[in-house]
């Protein structure tokens, strides 16, 4: 193998696939990144067996070939190099990779590429790896990214309950919905498929929130004019996303990325049962002000189980009402922040985990949000004002402060 590429492109590709490298595996080759030179492209690949990422970047291939080298060493080395062309050359006999860039040279001991697990692909760019068969659909890249950002954070990180570490993705008629919950809060997002091509049948799968998070991260650098191709296997055990890079010749680009993830085989909890059906108090506030007030209160709340108390007071006459946020730390003191609010219904008090509020408010783009509450022990619903009624809904279970 003899190939050269741009440092920025290689660094970009390595940062993308690096997220799939197994951090603690008994199989040494899973700590490596596969580098394959073929068809005037460089394929970079990594997998932890739950998720696998292939990334193709532009390269000048003089001799085809492949090798795997330690992911961390390669990543950190390439990141340290100047933005100049890098020459990579494989010494087949010793299975070592020689790298040369400007006045830096290095050799890395590798493991034979044949020991690397085979990763399924769309079949578009590779004539040897098996192509993934299944239901194919095309989804708008920016829309998909936005949905994932507003839902995936609510999933659990507790591996002992795998179902809740997933995001329920469902296609019903012409709508795509995503939902995630860690048991304490729930995020539901739904959109009209519009010009996207759905699966043509109703279908529900649970995808690991971590995989979707990676997808959203990668697609931030994608060409939003080209749809993301999604393939779900007939047995509903694997999902593949294909993302296209930007077509300009800018530096730090990739050609395309394919992310393959296992799906979670489980029944997602019925969340419709816990979505509040009505409210006694409806509070509309400026999102940025609300977020800031919560962040300030959090400084005091983080020492006290993150608990902040919200007190809603309706306005008198035509005056505005207010939302008061209070946090107390036994050792450090306390804080009271007040923001204007449009209050419909009766005054009420409710306590939330400040982190949950920060998480959801950070993902809302609209300038105003609505908080709907019934009573202090019942879940509160948060929606952005100006989005369709069933487009985005976040539900948080309140905390019970000590009496």
């Amino acid at each position: 193998m003899r190939v050269s590429c741009l440092q920025e492109n290689l660094a970009k590709g390595l940062s993308i696939v690096g997220r799939a490298v197994s951090s603690r595996s008994t199989l040494p080759v899973l700590g490596n990144i596969l580098i394959e030179a073929k068809n005037n492209q460089l394929r970079l690949a990594a997998t932890n067996l739950e998720i696998a990422i292939n990334c193709w970047i532009g390269a000048k291939v003089e001799e085809e070939g492949a090798i795997t080298v330690p992911a961390r060493l390669l990543g950190e080395f390439v990141n340290s190099l100047p933005p100049e062309p890098i020459d990579l050359e494989l010494s087949v006999r010793t299975q070592t990779l020689n790298l040369h860039c400007a006045r830096y040279t290095a050799t890395m001991k590798g493991i034979d590429a044949s020991e690397f697990p085979i990763i399924v692909t769309t079949g578009a760019d590779n004539d040897e790896a098996p192509a993934l068969e299944g239901t194919v659909m095309e989804l708008n890249a920016a829309g998909l990214r936005n949905m994932i950002d507003q839902v995936a954070f609510a999933a659990s990180t507790d591996e002992s309950r795998p179902t809740l570490t997933g995001v329920e993705v469902s296609f019903k008629k012409d709508r795509l919905s995503m939902a995630a919950t860690d048991g304490f809060r729930l995020s539901v997002r739904s959109t009209h498929l519009g010009e996207s091509n759905g699966p043509g049948e109703d279908m529900t799968v649970i995808a690991p929130a971590r995989s979707l998070g990676e997808l959203a991260r990668i697609s931030a650098d994608a060409d939003d004019d080209r749809p993301v191709q999604v393939i779900i296997t007939p047995t509903r055990n694997q999902i593949l996303f294909q993302i296209w890079g930007k077509r300009d010749d800018g530096r730090g680009n990739f050609h395309s990325v394919e992310l393959v993830s296992q799906l979670i085989d489980a029944r997602f909890p019925d969340y419709n049962a816990i979505i509040p059906k009505n409210y006694n108090t409806r509070t509309v506030v400026d999102k940025a002000e609300f977020l800031k007030a919560v962040r300030v209160a959090y400084l005091f709340a983080r020492d006290n189980n993150n608990i902040i108390r919200l007190s809603v007071t309706p306005g008198e006459g035509d005056g505005p009402g207010q939302l008061q946020l209070m946090a107390t730390s036994a050792e450090m003191g306390d804080a009271v922040n007040i923001i204007d609010a449009l209050v419909e219904g009766e005054g009420m008090e409710i306590a939330f985990n400040a982190k949950y509020l920060i998480d959801v408010l950070s993902q809302i783009d609209q300038t105003q949000v609505v908080l709907e509450t019934t009573q202090g022990t019942r879940p509160g619903a948060i929606r952005p004002l100006g989005m369709g009624e069933d487009e985005f809904l976040h539900v948080i279970m309140p905390m019970q402060p000590p009496r």
Partner: protein, 400 residues
């Protein structure tokens, strides 16, 4: 002079025995003890005044009590009866003032500062009411603070003598606190355990008066912050209020082994089980504590306790066990026989609690929610009243 308080300490005389005598009047005047069985490993929970003449006292093994007093009548304890009678007594106290701090089943502080009549008179009336209405003897201490009132009661009971209940009332007038405490041995003072007492004796202090005369700065240097507290107490100063909240002050669990245990693995296993039990109860009550206590009883009945303070309150079994093990290891020598082990957590704080969304469908959630709503409405009423009539209008009684 306005801020002089009037505090009463009340203690029912040989309470369990008094209740047993009500049930079976033939016990009156006889040496008898309430407690566990004499054949097993039971101890004396309470003993009648005639039994005390033989040297029997509470916490003594029943078998030893019987050796001292072979004609001793042993009565198995009936705890639910005692609780029921105790509630009747406490109700009489609360009829006088809502400011009642119940210390145990048979002991309480009352703050009667707000009542016009002299505290001594109130004490006499209380004693009479409890004797006439419930047929129970009790002793009272009257002073300007909790510390002196309690010690006064101890002194009054000790001076009563005779072979019946003391029925004592001991009054320490305002300004006389230090003079009253001065002749008493250091050990009478709250916070002076055997270790501190030994150290005080070494330094030439035998009485509380000796401690009061000792330079305060020196005491503080020798005993740290504890030294400063001791110096204040020795002078009869105690500003602790009578607190009516009956908060759980500690959560603890102990176990008496069927046979003394000297196997390290078995003892540590027991400590782990006790830590788990304590953690479970803390979690159920949504409490966390920052002080972990170990109680240990050797086969000769000496019962050392050790405690340590954690940086953060905990309700975690692992953390409690780790802390308790650190207390246990330096105390126990391999092969030493242990009769009883206890683990406790104090310095409790209520924890904010984060329920789950799906908890709403459970019965336990609905019960907790109803209690929470009741509390919230009550608080709203109290706040409204306070806003109208000032903060002193209401005080919390005892919950439940």
């Amino acid at each position: 002079m306005d801020n002089i308080r009037k505090i009463i300490h009340i203690d029912l005389d040989a309470f369990f025995c008094a209740v047993e005598e009500l049930r079976d009047p033939s016990l009156r005047g006889k040496p008898f003890a309430v407690g566990g069985s004499p054949t097993g490993r039971g101890v004396v929970a309470s003993c009648s005044y005639p039994a005390r003449q033989f040297g029997v006292h509470s916490a003594m093994p029943m078998s030893q009590a019987l050796r001292l007093c072979p004609q001793l009548i042993v009565v198995r304890s009936r705890h639910s009866d005692y609780s029921a009678v105790s509630r009747q007594v406490m109700a009489r106290l609360r009829a006088l003032t809502p400011l009642v701090e119940q210390l145990s089943i048979d002991e309480a502080f009352l703050d009667v500062t707000g009542l016009d009549r002299p505290a001594t008179l109130l004490a006499r009336e209380l004693q009479q009411t409890i004797r006439e209405e419930l047929d129970l003897p009790c002793s009272l201490g009257v002073a300007t603070n909790k510390l002196v009132a309690k010690i006064a009661n101890n002194v009054g009971k000790a001076q009563a003598g005779g072979d019946g209940p003391p029925n004592a009332i001991q009054v320490v007038p305002p300004g006389q606190e230090a003079a009253f405490l001065a002749p008493l041995p250091c050990e009478e003072l709250w916070g002076v355990g055997p270790k501190t007492a030994a150290r005080l004796h070494e330094l030439g202090m035998e009485t509380i008066g000796d401690m009061a005369r000792f330079p305060e700065a020196e005491l503080e240097r020798l005993f740290g912050k504890h030294g400063r507290d001791l110096a204040r107490r020795a002078k009869g100063i105690d500003e602790r209020p009578v607190t009516t909240h009956r908060e759980a002050k500690s959560v603890s669990q102990e176990t008496t082994f069927r046979r003394d245990v000297s196997d390290g693995a078995e003892l540590r296993q027991a400590l782990r089980r006790l830590s788990e039990g304590v953690a479970r109860r803390l979690q159920r009550k949504r409490l966390a504590g920052s002080t972990v206590k170990l109680k240990l009883r050797w086969s000769d009945f000496t019962t050392p306790t050790r405690q340590t303070t954690l940086r953060q309150p905990t309700d975690d079994a692992g953390q409690i066990y780790t802390a308790v093990l650190k207390l246990f290891e330096p105390l126990w020598r391999p092969g030493q026989a242990v009769r009883l082990l206890g683990v406790g957590v104090t310095n409790l704080d209520e924890r904010p609690y984060q329920p789950r969304l799906w908890d709403m469908e459970t019965e336990a959630f609905r019960r907790a929610e109803a209690a929470y709503e009741k509390e919230r409405r009550l608080r709203a009423v109290v706040e409204a009243l306070e806003a109208r009539y000032g903060e002193e209008v209401l005080r919390r009684g005892v919950e439940g």
